[in-house]
């Protein structure tokens, strides 16, 4: 690890002042589950690391007068799960329960998860986000790379597992800096971007800025769910994921929001698929049709065509799960005792 200066501010103003010292490459530290590993690999070589986890105002989960819940940047995943204010966001909780590792839940923060750097192995081995304008990804092993939004040089997939569900909930982020007292509220969906040049990040944060809170509006009667297709259990990156939020009145979907994860350099908002669901009942058929629509623009690379099917199924199962159907898969506990099907019993008899 390259050595660096370390600061532990106690207020937001101090943090901004520390992050904006001229000519310094700064990094914001909260849980450290991503940043410290990247610094050890010299992928991140900051001159100064500012630890924001001791700032009191960032350690709270609070509900404001409108019913929106504010989650500070130092709040860890486990505290989000355990907080009663967050019970109204089952899809986000489902994803955190899927991450499940007790260490990540008590060390990793919600905001840190949203800003996790891509897991693209070319990036993590120091070849940059674009890995030679996409050439290395195209010619190399690209089984986990993007199938959507990959027509520019960026081929990595956004690493956040929580972003899809939070975007379907209409979450926003509060960003402060780089000037003192400068603050803005941004739609979470607009925090992400697809970099077009090596100098750009996968988010719109400028040097000296950082996210202090995620703000999740009250969700009313919407039904929400998230579904991840995973290779195995736990902290590993899913292969494809989808989150859904729907408004159902008298059996018919009035309003829908569908966001895919792990398929594009940003969380992928499937507007047309969501539109397609409106005015319909949620059935196996309509859900499958929506899944099909969500990946209709996919352009697979040489080794990741399989992800189209997985993404399609993720959307279908997320829609069904939101509507209360049991979809099977990893999220549903398997019965511990094998059961004999009725038809087989008849046959044996």
């Amino acid at each position: 690890m390259k050595n660096f200066e370390y600061a532990q501010p106690t207020t937001e103003d101090e943090a901004v002042a520390l992050l904006t010292e001229p000519k310094k490459d700064t990094a914001v530290l909260a849980g450290g589950t991503d940043l410290v590993g990247l610094m050890k690999r010299m992928v991140v070589t900051a001159d100064r690391v500012v630890n924001i986890s001791e700032i009191k105002s960032l350690q709270q989960v609070e509900r404001d007068d409108n019913g929106s819940v504010w989650i500070g940047a130092a709040v860890c995943l486990g505290d989000f799960l355990d907080n009663r204010h967050t019970d109204q966001y089952p899809s986000t909780k489902q994803v955190i329960q899927g991450i499940s590792s007790i260490q990540l839940q008590s060390q990793g923060t919600l905001v840190g998860e949203l800003l996790r750097r891509p897991n693209c192995w070319y990036f993590r081995e120091g070849h940059g986000l674009l890995a030679d304008s996409g050439r290395m990804v195209n010619e190399g092993d690209n089984r986990y790379h993007a199938i959507l939004g990959n027509r520019g040089p960026a081929r990595f997939v956004n690493a956040s597992r929580l972003a899809p569900s939070l975007i379907t909930l209409g979450a926003q982020v509060r960003i402060i800096g780089p000037e003192k007292d400068e603050e803005q509220i941004l739609e979470l969906a607009d925090l992400y971007r697809t970099p077009a040049a090596d100098s750009e990040l996968e988010n719109v944060l400028q040097p000296g800025q950082f996210v202090t809170h995620v703000i999740i509006p009250t969700h009313g009667d919407r039904l929400t769910a998230a579904y991840e297709v995973r290779q195995g259990e736990g902290p590993d990156q899913p292969l494809a994921a989808a989150a859904v939020s729907i408004d159902v009145v008298a059996g018919t979907v009035q309003n829908a929001s569908i966001v895919l994860g792990q398929v594009a350099p940003t969380p992928w908002i499937a507007r047309e698929a969501a539109q397609l669901l409106c005015g319909k009942e949620v059935t196996e058929e309509s859900a499958a049709m929506v899944g099909h629509q969500a990946v209709s623009g996919a352009m697979p690379l040489s080794q990741n065509e399989y992800k189209i099917q997985l993404a399609q199924v993720a959307v279908k199962r997320a829609v069904l799960k939101a509507a209360g159907y049991d979809t099977g898969g990893l999220d549903t506990p398997m019965p511990l005792e094998p059961t004999v099907s009725p038809s087989l019993e008849t046959h044996i008899a």
């Binding site: 690890m1 390259k2 050595n3 660096f4 200066e5 370390y6 600061a7 532990q8 501010p9 106690t10 207020t11 101090e14 002042a17 520390l18 530290l29 849980g31 450290g32 589950t33 991503d34 410290v36 590993g37 990247l38 610094m39 050890k40 690999r41 001159d47 100064r48 690391v49 630890n51 986890s53 860890c76 486990g78 329960q97 499940s100 590792s101 007790i102 260490q103 990540l104 008590s106 060390q107 259990e233 736990g234 902290p235 506990p333 511990l336």
Partner: protein, 243 residues
């Protein structure tokens, strides 16, 4: 001590880790500060600065910007002195950690991880350095009762906090259950598992088998002893011998 001083300098220079004004002092790996340089550990060298004067913050910043400043440089301006939250730590500094109930002092740089301090300064070698990014869970310790990976925690960030390592769990029910259920093969992952199980059961004393599998999936065992570890944890839940 196999390698020569010049070998170590060559290695470090290649890695762009140090400026020319530093000399190498070979030290015994057993009780040294070699943790400051992961990449030099195998040869057991540390670096010390030739001048005993230390460096001023300004001089350090204006200089090469290279890896090490040995002196502590804190809050050089009056404004910073007025606000402790604006203090910037650069180079080596002393911190106090409460480890397993004892107050212990360590010399750390900003980049020194908690794992480095535990293993190479406090000689608490239960937590293991396995993965750079903490994906193995082998370095799990408790900070304020919460399971965290010491390998991805900076020592400065936990100064003054309560750290519990597996060494303090000797009389605990968890290692006893591991022994009873033969829940280790090579044993390298075991300390991380033991601490993770302790934290997990503190939070979910009545966990189901499925919850146990999920909650412990931040730990990896390359021998694949999972079945026996699971049995050990299930026995703790069932036996209620959990305290």
């Amino acid at each position: 001590m196999g390698a020569s001083q010049s070998d170590a300098r060559d290695v470090a220079t290649c890695l762009n880790l140090i400026p020319d004004s530093y000399t190498f002092i070979p030290v015994d790996l057993g009780n040294c500060c070699a943790h400051l340089f992961h990449r030099l550990e195998p040869d057991g060298f540390i670096m010390s600065q030739q001048s005993s004067q230390g460096v001023s913050r300004r001089g350090f910043l204006k200089g090469s910007g290279a890896a090490v400043a040995v002196s502590t440089v804190v809050s050089s301006t009056e404004a910073e002195a007025a606000a402790p939250g604006l203090q910037v730590v650069s180079g080596e500094t002393s911190i106090t950690l409460k480890v397993n109930g004892k107050s212990m002092t360590a010399k750390v740089e900003p980049r020194t991880t908690l794992l480095d301090v535990l293993r190479y300064q406090f000689d608490l070698t239960g937590a293991k350095p396995v993965s750079l990014g903490g994906s193995s869970g082998a370095s799990t310790v408790l900070i304020g009762g919460k399971a965290v990976m010491a390998s991805t925690t900076l020592a400065l960030a936990v100064a003054g906090k309560e750290v519990t390592t597996c060494e303090s769990l000797g009389g605990d029910a968890v290692p006893a259950a591991f022994v009873e259920h033969d829940a280790q093969q090579c044993g390298f992952c075991t300390p991380g598992f033991v601490v993770a199980v302790r934290a997990f059961l503190n939070k979910y004393p009545n966990a189901t088998e499925e919850q146990i599998r999920a909650g412990l999936n931040g730990n990896i065992c390359r021998c694949g002893t999972y079945a026996n570890i699971l049995q050990a944890v299930v026995s703790l839940v069932k036996g209620n011998s959990n305290g």
